[in-house]
Symmetry: C2
Subunit: 190 residues, 2 copies
Amino acid sequence: MPRKPGYDRNDLINRARDLFWRQGWAGTSLKDLEAELQMKPGSFYAAFGSKDALYGLALDQYASDGAARLHALAGEHGPVEALRRFPLEVLKNPSAPARACMLSRTLLELQAHEHPLADRASDHLRGMEEQFATLFTEAQSRGEIDPTLDPKKLARKYQSDLMGLRVTAERRDVDALALASEFAETVGRT
Amino acid sequence: MPRKPGYDRNDLINRARDLFWRQGWAGTSLKDLEAELQMKPGSFYAAFGSKDALYGLALDQYASDGAARLHALAGEHGPVEALRRFPLEVLKNPSAPARACMLSRTLLELQAHEHPLADRASDHLRGMEEQFATLFTEAQSRGEIDPTLDPKKLARKYQSDLMGLRVTAERRDVDALALASEFAETVGRT
DNA sequence: TATATACTTGAGTGATCGCTCAATAAACCC
DNA sequence: GGGTTTATTGAGCGATCACTCAAGTATATA
């Protein structure tokens, strides 16, 4: 009886993610979304309910994409090499919406207003951190890094430095790739 | 002949800086500013011209404050110890508007729309970086750190890691001080 | 004290914000 | 093909955005 939508929902979410990632939450208006997704307001709200709801979906998509990419890298190159290559995946991609991390952007923009999406971003950051820790643990059991170090501390430091790198890479007067390869060298040491 | 303003202009800029620092550019409305500065729209626009103009002044104030604080630390404790203590100045202060750096916030929020304030933030970041480099150079001539390292690279890495630290410190599930002292230990090494 | 010169007030500007909804069109089952 | 169900359309909602301006008030000089 029903009528099928004329769009691919997952594709819409990915396009919205890129737009939000690039322009931020407040910086992306419904006009922007309507233009990017080729949807009129009625369809948009029938499909997603609200701008915030779509942002949440985009955030989840962003996080699970990152987790999948890191997992794939680890399977192909092992844990340490995966952690070294991970930053380059974004920084080397010229069509990436932004260098900075969408999760940290969201946290910075919405935390002060105690917006639920800030907590959602924070949760995803913790999830990524746990994935990093798992890789460090695996690297230790393989004998690739110092086994006396605390994987959780390594993971937190790795993530923190990575976010710094990705913010710095937003600057136009900075050679992001040079900074990234310098970052890669330090992974596993200290 | 004229009439003196009933406010201290510098105090207003400082209060605006704290509000912008905490809530961001889009996150701070003129209503917010009017309430915080106790000014009606007419007075506000007579005094500052526009929201962007005041944001620019606040940004400059933020940058020069930071530079002055770092300079004072260096005079008191020497370059390396200054660089070690610098992050704690913000993170230990419970009344600070935010943990994250206002310059990086501004860059992240406004860069995609090519807003002039993003460039202004970027310029200030470069200025801070140069100050860091100067301190590293001084530390080398004092023999406090490895003289073969490039002060500019050290400065960039220091600033990048510092920004990461300060973003991470925004998370409610993270012990910012533990991360900061860990960060302090690494200054001058590597 | 008179006057010129600012500062202050606050109602109100057009534009844009996220969002609604009644009307219309299209696709599925029987 | 008829009937049902859902997707799509787009004008337009109230609220808020940054901002303006004419009128009123206070202060310094003459």
